[in-house]
Symmetry: C2
Subunit: 247 residues, 2 copies
DNA sequence: CGTGTGATTGATTAAAATCAAGTGATGTGG
DNA sequence: CCACATCACTTGATTTTAATCAATCACACG
């Protein structure tokens, strides 16, 4: 179904250096000093490009590396017996993929590019060893994992306490925040994921997602033009989604 | 509403030693050698007893320690504005509480004993420093955090893909597993949590939980006598809950 | 012995799933 | 280039599930 490639075969983007990377503030390198970043860089595999629909790793595959999104967008998902695939998360530039696999020795879900993306690869073994030497890196990894736990807990909360429309509102606000943090417009952006993927991620059906978007458009909280979203009423959306959005 | 105590005031249970602890296989000490356990022990505060309804820490309180359940059962929960409290998780002997607070400097939820419990306290700062010296401990902490992420993701999956009855079935099977792993009967056990807490945890209402239990009783998958559960048909319950239960 | 809490059961309602139909964009092959 | 298929999305009608509203029971506790 999906294209499957080995990481080695993809074209490496040359002259990449962590120190110059514009994602530093969002990345694992945040709060590391230049010398530490250089150490980290020594274990980073230069970012490679992944075309839309290409699978990075598959559930059950041997876990070896974590990946950091350099550009584009990756989804992790689980093929679930009877039901359709379930999207577990979307990853944006700076996000670290694979932390949930540390516990097992194999990947816990499948990662697929939903648009052309590039990623940096880090051997987890090397990262772990390095973190023993760099306390701030060790801390950073712990923090990232802890944050991931909190993120998942927030998701659980959303699923249990928000209705369809509130979930969509919260989702759009979180995407808006993600774009903002990465230096793009937070009022006008293009969703890289399909309605199906949004529905799966939010535990809804496509129809419900579509209807919720239509209604938010109708009450003029936002403009929906296919995957192009323009937010008109931030306070309204915030009030609707009530709970706190992604930090 | 709930009693609140400072950890210092509770009665310490004397002559406690990690090396002799019967929970070792389930605890953070798993796979540490005796010398390492001794090092760990030096930073462990002997277990203290917490009576039912007593709060261990409150959301927003300064994060300093993680806790390991020695006996009893602890719930973490979030008081949520308009709606009722939401139970985020139940913790059983061997479970580590507080990992989601590492990211912030304050606890992310509130921990309360739902039956008389005892806990070991570990300064996270000291644990972190110690983990720099003991690679297997560092690994263990990473694994625990990674597992927690997976657990939360499973929860998300359950909420999006299982109906009320399936969730209850899965919940009871997971409790059964927990008891089994701790050397108790997995076919007959007493739930320490109320129906309200189960409902909150599973994202359902009390009525729905009650009805689901009644129906499972009626079709003779199990016997429900107040909080006493006797499982009659494991295969049936497994089939019903379909997805994989807690490992 | 009343009061409150936890739990169960029933009736009704509301929300989202399901079923169904249709549009528009994209792509394929004749 | 057009006919046809397919996919992503939308909108409508109907059904299903669980929430809500309501009543009752059991039991623990002061």
């Amino acid at each position: 179904m999906n294209k499957k490639i080995s990481f080695q075969k993809v074209t490496p983007i040359l002259e990449h250096h962590c120190v110059n990377c514009n994602l530093n503030a969002l990345c694992i390198t945040d709060r590391l000093d230049p010398k530490e970043i250089q150490l980290l860089e020594s274990i980073v595999r230069h970012p490679s490009s992944l075309s839309k629909g290409t699978t990075l790793f598959t559930k059950g595959e041997r876990f070896q590396s974590v990946y950091i999104v350099k550009s584009g967008c990756i989804k992790t998902h689980i093929m679930d017996g009877k039901k359709m695939e379930k999207v577990t998360r979307f990853y944006f530039p700076g996000d670290l993929i694979g932390l949930n696999a540390v516990n097992y020795d194999y990947y816990y879900d499948t990662a697929t590019a939903i648009e052309t993306s590039s990623l940096c690869q880090l051997s987890f073994e090397k990262l772990d060893k390095l973190s023993a030497k760099i306390p701030s890196l060790r801390r950073k990894i712990l923090h990232l994992m802890s944050r991931t736990i909190c993120d998942e807990q927030k998701m659980v909360q959303q699923l249990t306490q928000k209705n369809a429309e509130e979930r969509i509102a919260a989702f759009l606000l979180s995407i808006s925040n993600i774009f903002k943090a990465r230096g793009f417009s937070d009022t006008r952006f293009r969703l890289s994921m399909s309605r199906i993927e949004i529905a799966s991620y939010l535990g809804l059906t496509v129809e419900t997602v579509s209807r919720a978007l239509s209604r938010l458009h109708k009450i003029e909280y936002l403009i929906v033009d296919k995957r192009e979203i323009t937010i008109l009423d931030f306070p309204g959306l915030h009030a609707l989604s009530s709970l706190n959005s992604r930090a």
